[in-house]
């Protein structure tokens, strides 16, 4: 048995997990934040505990866009309407210019952005308010991260 090789693997595992943590932490700290209207449902993940599954107004592809297939990478340009955002344009290449956009995957008319679940303390996900707003952070490249949920102007769950 090569002890030193096992130690190298251990170092790589630690480095991998710390890098993953640091990467998402940097997105959270440095990315620009936006507010999205969210609709909740309430499942439970065996591995990670309770979470609220979310659906956004931008999760459904408007009829004017003709994209078909499953797991298609797309870029969704966001258009501000008041304090919230809605779909402006949908392209298969990253948009140019200084417009906020999200990277997602289209599954038929549904779009997944990787911000569809929010972990909550055990039992807190049973009574989810209807007026939920999601604060998201967008990195250059369109990668989004869900930062916080708000209900009635206050962070939720309390």
């Amino acid at each position: 048995m090569k002890t030193w090789l096992l130690r190298i693997i251990l170092m790589l595992q630690i480095l991998g997990l710390v890098s993953l943590y640091a990467y998402h932490l940097s997105i959270e700290k440095t990315g620009k934040t936006y507010l999205l209207k969210a609709e909740p449902v309430d499942p439970r993940d065996l591995l990670s505990g309770d979470y609220v599954a979310l659906q956004y107004a931008i999760s459904t592809l408007p009829d004017r866009f003709d994209i078909s297939g499953f797991n298609i990478p797309i870029y969704v340009t966001l258009q501000p309407t008041g304090t919230l955002l809605e779909i402006g344009d949908v392209t298969e290449a990253p948009p140019t210019g200084n417009v906020p956009y999200l990277k997602g995957r289209a599954f038929g008319r549904q779009i997944s952005y990787g911000i569809e679940r929010y972990y909550v303390p055990e039992g807190k996900g049973k009574h989810v308010p209807g007026d939920l707003y999601a604060e998201i952070v967008i990195q250059p490249g369109g990668t989004a991260q869900l930062k916080k949920l708000y209900s009635a102007g206050k962070p939720w769950p309390r």
Binding site: M1, K2, T3, L5, L6, R7, I9, L10, L12, Q13, I14, G16, L17, V18, L20, Y21, H24, L25, I27, E28, L47, S48, G49, Y51, F70, N71, S112, G114, I115, E116, R117, Y118, Y119, P121, E122, Q145, L146, K147
Partner: protein, 322 residues
């Protein structure tokens, strides 16, 4: 009954030396063959119960305060556990401690990276692909079973590898054979064959336990793949049922496994082969007579067949292994 120790034997050995039955050197030689002291079974039992209660207490304490623990502390604790388990595994193997210590440590070292990935996902509310999660985990433990030679890490490695197949097919909608379900079945069947064949390489390293696990899991995967191939509940008009052929192939495959196990003196292969043969006979019976009998009669006859199969398989296995 307590095992003899140096402490308990010393008065007797001294008496034998004094009685000129044995020499001083012989006395010392006899004592050297026994451990210095032993723990009584009662002490051992209470220590195990106490240890388990302490571990349970720590788990309950952590889970009750999970949300208030800072995320850096959570990650730090996990990395600490990962480091401790790997180091305990390597040191335990090197210093020839009780085999259970390095084995359990390596098992933790194999599972903790997955828990770490799940933890980061939970901290940052990531809802990414299950395939990417398992693939990252698999890559992180890719070489662990081959460097540690730990059978439990090899089993974990195999589980992560086999989980990748359905996740990749369902997430990327690969339907190479009529639909996704049949693609999963065929890929499982092929992967099982590859795993069972590749596991023979463990013989070169003198690791029979890993080889037995590889053969057994490979046989289970191939049998499962063939067994489920034609189990689709929805049949289009053009569908020609071939479940009889697929199940027949499982029967022949496991009969072959029993034969190989008998010839090569591999008891796990014989046992598993017989169990699978029993399952397939019972499955054939239930599927063929299921629509002919009333529910009560089906339960009664299938139960009777199950009892007959258990006894027959047990007898056959015993006679083959003898």
């Amino acid at each position: 009954m307590m095992k003899p120790t140096q402490k308990s034997l010393k008065p007797h050995v001294n008496a034998w030396i004094e009685g000129n039955l044995i020499t001083q050197e012989q006395g010392e030689g006899i004592l050297a063959k026994y451990p210095t002291s032993s723990t009584s079974p009662a002490t051992m039992t209470f220590s195990i119960i106490g240890g388990m209660l302490c571990i349970l207490g720590v788990i309950l304490l952590v889970s009750a305060n999970w949300q208030s623990i800072p995320r850096e502390v959570k990650l730090g604790a996990l990395l600490g556990l990962l480091t401790a388990s790997t180091l305990l595994g390597t040191e335990g193997s090197r210093r020839k401690w009780h085999p259970a210590i390095p084995e359990i440590s390596y098992l933790f070292a194999a599972v903790l990276p997955l828990i770490g990935l799940a933890l980061v996902s939970q901290i940052f509310n990531l809802g990414g692909s299950g395939f990417a999660l398992i693939l990252t985990w698999f890559i992180s433990i890719l070489f662990l079973p081959f460097l540690s030679f730990s059978p439990s890490t090899f089993v974990v490695w195999m589980i992560s590898l086999s989980a990748l197949v359905p996740l990749a097919i369902t997430e990327y909608h690969w339907a190479w054979f009529s639909d996704e379900d049949q693609t999963i079945s065929i890929m499982y069947a092929l992967l099982g064959l590859v795993v069972a064949t590749a596991s023979q390489l463990w013989s070169k390293a003198g690791r029979r336990m890993q080889r037995a696990w590889g053969e057994s899991l490979g046989l289970i995967m191939t049998s499962l793949g063939l067994y489920t191939y034609d189990c689709t509940t929805y049949y289009p008009h053009s569908h020609v049922p071939i479940w009889q052929i697929a199940w027949g192939a499982v029967f022949v495959l496991n009969l072959g496994a029993v034969f190989v196990g008998y010839k090569a003196h591999r008891a796990p292969l014989v046992t598993l082969g017989f169990v699978m043969l029993g399952i397939i006979i019972l499955s054939f019976y239930c599927r063929l007579v299921g629509s002919m009998l009333s529910t009560g009669m089906l339960f009664l006859s299938a139960g009777t067949l199950l009892i007959i199969l258990i006894f027959t398989v047990h007898k056959l296995r015993k006679s083959v292994l003898q």
